[in-house]
Amino acid sequence: MLARIGVASLDELFADIPAAQRLEGLLDLPHGASEMAVERQLGALAQRNVASGSVPFFCGAGAYRHHVPASVDHLIQRSEFLTSYTPYQPEITQGTLQYLFEFQTQVAALTGMEVANASMYDGSTAAAEAVLMAHRLTKRHKAVLSGGLHPHYAETIRTLSHMAGADARLLPADPQADEDIMAQIDAETSCVVVQSPDVFGNLRDLRAIAARAHAQGALLIAVFTEVMALGLIEPPGAMGADIVAGEGQSIGNGLNFGGPYVGLMATRQNFVRQMPGRLCGETVDAEGRRGFVLTLSTREQHIRRDKATSNICTNSGLCALAFTIHMSLLGAKGLRQVALVNHARAVALAKKLGALAGVEVINQSFFNEFAVRVAGDARVLVERLATAGVLAGVPYARLAPQAGLDDILLIAVTETSSDDDADALVAALAGALPC
């Protein structure tokens, strides 16, 4: 090979690396290991974690444990899906393009919006991009963020806004969903960002907020972290939302310690040219047959560069496929049923917990996650229960230590939590709480 290239040694090919910076020896890292040795090493690390399926488990707060049918993981591991690139050559990527078109249709239907894009990194980054999109649409720079927003989402939005020179005002944590966000909307407001179910689990009626925002020329951005809820609750599109940004992990995707997940973004048709991310559209080929392509690319970085709507390139393709397949298996009927089971189990657990001394359920409404006020610091309680083999939920103070809500514990219940799990939580809590 070297002869055909016309060099005497491999080193000649690296001659452009300045001599003083060229590495002669090996990096100070181990030598390569066999497949078996790597399995042993990583297996040992995996062993040191408590898998959610191995204990009574109630953590949510933006990531949810649901049952994903075995066929989903099988299908997404097909080489043709797993090991292909972004569908830039549509003639030989119709498989990817067609599922993206199905994904966009499903997301639009679930959220009650007209169009959805082909995915964002996750819910939090989708929310941050939605805010910048609203600024472009309204030509204003002030966002108002609800105190019911997941603190990670609020921080993500604020970091990006701050860096982009825009203003994002966050209201105080709002566990009872009784903030007066409408009073914050004025003629300079670009958008209001409201999450439902909110981080405490409360369901929020967005209609009046949308009306007030629209009256001031502002947009309503609706956020969710639990997409499963949309099987049971009124979608944001039906309540006047202009942009919807949410986390799609619950459908098709496992917990994975926080990623990769799949960001969902949907909006109105007439806003689509300001939308970030890839879009798949229908067209025909040279023989007149239906086919799909990536479209409206003049919004994107590879065409528009510094004038693009976003810098996003690689997105969450395979996670979107998992979402699409799981959603296709569920159908509206299955989604509604699973969502109903989630809700039923949450209602039953809330009732049992509410009967415990030292535990108060603070929600008026919820889907599959609710907040309880416990005696003492919820972080300490959760650690104590973990030692007893129960993962009881997420202390709100872990997300927002400064909020003064150290006694709030977020508890999520899905179709995967059995009656025995619920009983174990109730018993463990009863034992751990001073009464």
Partner: protein, 518 residues
Amino acid sequence: MLNNQGRPTQPEKASAGHRTFTGNRGLQMEEALIFETGRLDVTGVDCEVPAPFGARLGGLERRAALDLPGLSEPEAMRHYVRLSQKNYSIDAGLYPLGSCTMKHNPRLNEKMARLPGFSDIHPLQPQSTVQGALALLAELGHWLTTMTGMAAVSLVPKAGAHGELCGMMAIKAAIAARGEAATRRIVLVPDSAHGTNPATAALIGFEVRAVPARADGTVDPAAVGALMGPDVAAIMLTNPNTCGIFERDIVAIAEIIHAGGGYFYCDGANFNAIVGKTRTGDLGVDAMHINLHKTFSTPHGGGGPGSGPVVLSARLAAFAPVPFVRAGATGLELVEHAEGQSFGRMSAFHGQMGMFVRALAYMLSHGADGLRQASEDAVLNANYVRAALNDVMSSPFGARPCMHEALFDDEWLKGTGITTLDFAKAMIDEGYHPMTMYFPLVVHGAMLIEPTESESLASLDLFIMTLRDLAFSAKRGESERFTGAPHLAPRRRLDETRAARAPKLRWTPPVPVAEAAE
């Protein structure tokens, strides 16, 4: 019929000639959308039916229609298997997309990522219950900082562009900390840069200024010197660059930027060419993202997910985002809330764990020796392809060695009436995925070929012979092999103009005949 951009304008007759009743052609199946075949009363999942209970939805029950049909498991399997068969993939063939690094994705990585101890843990479980996961983050960070010789790493970013954002936000925070936020507003970006570079800089309010390239495709330190000033925040430079060339004056460029009070962001998408050959930190870089989905073999998944950790110099380390892992009193701990100079949080949770496991499995498998060899083989393969095509195609920067990818322009197609797009589409008929086309923008009709280290000599030789055959055919003026191509793929060329003119971005039910007539 094709328009002057090579896009179809009106229907042609089926090229295969042989008509079938179903529209299928042997194993090539026509597949409807699920919305056209699924039924609203079907679901493919088992689900218990709860006993009646009092809902607590606060009057917000869904009233809006939800017209999503369901599929049984066998229907879903068939539908998605058939869709998959319309896709090209690395597992099926050479995938020479320059800059994208379509290398083999070892299946051990997939197996490891699916261990329940990694795949089935929650990001907000008590830290005492995820010590193995935190150890994995620390271990991956150790490999990345060692390979690059950098002070710190943030594992948070979710892809390359998100890594760019992370690095540039750290730079912006560092500049603000110096009290220069109002004055240093310019970021220097060569025209050859990937679109994400200028898009990232602009997203956070920087003004992008172009840096011209020399005739040999690299950046001239003198050109950087001429642009450098107290208004410049940073340079974003790709190395090896998007023309597949190592920026030989990178150290001098770093010195000019630093002397002028700026920061050096390096786009590390092409790090796969130089692992173990040189260290980023030794070159004077302040921040660089690494696409785990390129250099470290995590699968591209049809467009994602990726992972784009950013390594940082000592000057920028303090500005890194949260969360990160550090050693605490009782084991490893995650720092989840910004302290000191950290610029804060840029996404929920801790990064793309699923990708971390895969990348670390690849690193452990290869080791210091194997990683270096992978880079060497990638460069060897690219040069082999370049040398073997050099006499029939044209190189914008002459017959000089390249790094991991070989760049050609369309000079050699002049007068044939055949474009880079046509040539690429003809490769499809030969069973190859085309190379990256029309990128970098600085080269006319660019064709960027990255074979990666995964290809055997036999595979490279067949690829080379195929491209030579196509090239001779183009020069002989056999334009029908190109201008109508592809003839044999699941679809002929698609009408992109039509897709963009009246965007149809979701399925909608067909309008009933009676209504349509009104």
